[in-house]
């Protein structure tokens, strides 16, 4: 069975229909890249998957369970699904170690004595073991974003959601974050990511989804989607993002 099953999803903000009849299947181990113009509903789709927005129609099933913002057990569900945003949102008053171990400790995933080991493992994955005692404020944007990823990894999620995680970074810091995500992909993590990095989508994703006006306009294998787009909208999007 697919890990994520979205069927006929509808989401509105008041009168504005932001997601219109979206259906999407994500298998275990899939790397799905969502692309599309600003305002096409990419972030909203991710937020729905994480139960951050209530939905007006259709269904989202993750690991066989229906997901909604009002579901019982939303907390436990979120402990199994990591999400990283454009803004890193590290907790400024905790050092890196505490940022990474806060949730595993508070949710009872591990005991305090094992917390440091867990943090070391997660930070090693993102290449920041040496920053374990640093304050967020002392880190570069790229480093902060990698800590944010490590913070999710420490929860041992089954699914990771990334929303334009490199968009707020200086160009020279983008690579280090993408590399971490590539490593995670190679380890078999299931990931859904919204990105403007076409090369990353082409090289790492096994599925690309093009959203347009709240719909999935086109989806398929990255080579086909980016190399031989079918719809004029995707063609226009790709040629505009190449510049």
């Amino acid at each position: 069975m697919a890990l994520v099953e979205i069927k006929n999803l509808r989401k509105t903000f008041g009168k504005l229909e932001v997601i219109k009849d979206v259906s999407l299947t994500v298998e275990q181990g899939d790397i799905v890249a969502i692309i599309g113009r600003s305002g096409s509903g990419k972030s909203t789709l991710l937020r729905c998957i994480n139960g951050l927005e209530d939905i007006q129609g259709g269904s989202i099933t993750v690991g066989g369970r229906d997901v909604s913002a009002k579901m019982a057990g939303l907390k436990e569900y979120r402990q199994r699904v990591g999400i990283v945003f454009q803004q890193f949102n590290l907790f400024p008053h905790m050092n890196v170690l505490k940022n990474v171990t806060l949730a595993p400790i508070l949710t009872g995933k591990i005991k305090k004595p094992q917390a440091r080991k867990l943090a070391e493992d997660s930070l090693t994955t993102v290449g920041l073991l040496d920053k374990i005692e640093a304050w967020p404020e002392q880190l570069s944007g790229g480093q902060q974003q990698r800590v944010a990823i490590a913070r999710c990894l420490a929860m041992k999620p089954e699914l990771m959601l990334f929303d334009e995680v490199t968009s707020a970074l200086d160009p020279e810091l983008v690579g280090e974050v993408l590399k971490v995500m590539e490593d995670m992909a190679r380890q078999g993590m299931t990931m859904i990511l919204v990105t403007h990095e076409m090369n990353f989508a082409r090289n790492v994703a096994n599925k690309v989804v093009f959203m347009h006006h709240g719909r999935i306009w086109e989806q398929g294998h990255p080579d086909q989607m980016l190399g031989d787009p079918q719809t004029p909208e995707l063609q226009a999007f790709i040629s505009s993002s190449r510049t």
């Binding site: 994480n50 951050l52 907390k75 436990e76 569900y77 979120r78 402990q79 199994r80 990591g82 999400i83 945003f85 803004q87 949102n89 907790f91 400024p92 008053h93 905790m94 050092n95 806060l102 949730a103 508070l106 949710t107 304050w135 404020e137 002392q138 913070r151 999710c152 929860m155």
Partner: protein, 220 residues
Amino acid sequence: MLNFRPLWRYEDAFIEGILTTLELALIAGLAGLALGLVCALVLGRGNRAANLLIRSYIEIIRNTPPVLQIFIIFFVLPRIGLRFPPFEAAAVALTLYFGAFVTEIIRSGLDSIPKAQVEAGHCLGLAGWQVFAHVVLMPAMRNIYPSLTSQFILLLLGTSIASFISAEELFHTAAVVDSRTFRSFEVYALISGIYVLMVIAFRLLFFAIGRLAFRWPVAR
């Protein structure tokens, strides 16, 4: 000629007055802090009736003289069967007074924390109270620490209005000693000095606590 000597026999009374003043300030300070925290949290939940109640309380306190508030509690409430001795009446009045201002301060502190921080906490699977206690509280406290401590200093000085209902704090003691010794200048100079020293002591204490509690670097 200045002559402080006649005041010496009243040393014990002054010490008693200082202690009562400190006691009043600390009791009203802590109780008001708790009251303000609860009110601020309830305000955040957006229940209409509760909000109206708390808003009215705040507006009444902020728009009437503190002396009037203390009078109402001491002289008017007994009419409906609520009788307090002077110290207790003063403590209640000052708690209500401090709590109203603290509510506003804490509310602004909670509002100063970006929604994204709260969301990040929820996304990690934390419960609502855990997000509040671990994610929101400390940064919010840091943001409001200067106004909160200044408000406490105002409370400390404001305990002097308890003398209006003869609670035996420092200012009341001074008035009594003045009426016995007729050394007004010396008496009030002395307690001015004492108030200043108390304020300085608290400011130093708050500075030290702030240094210890808020160590993380912040963006400038």
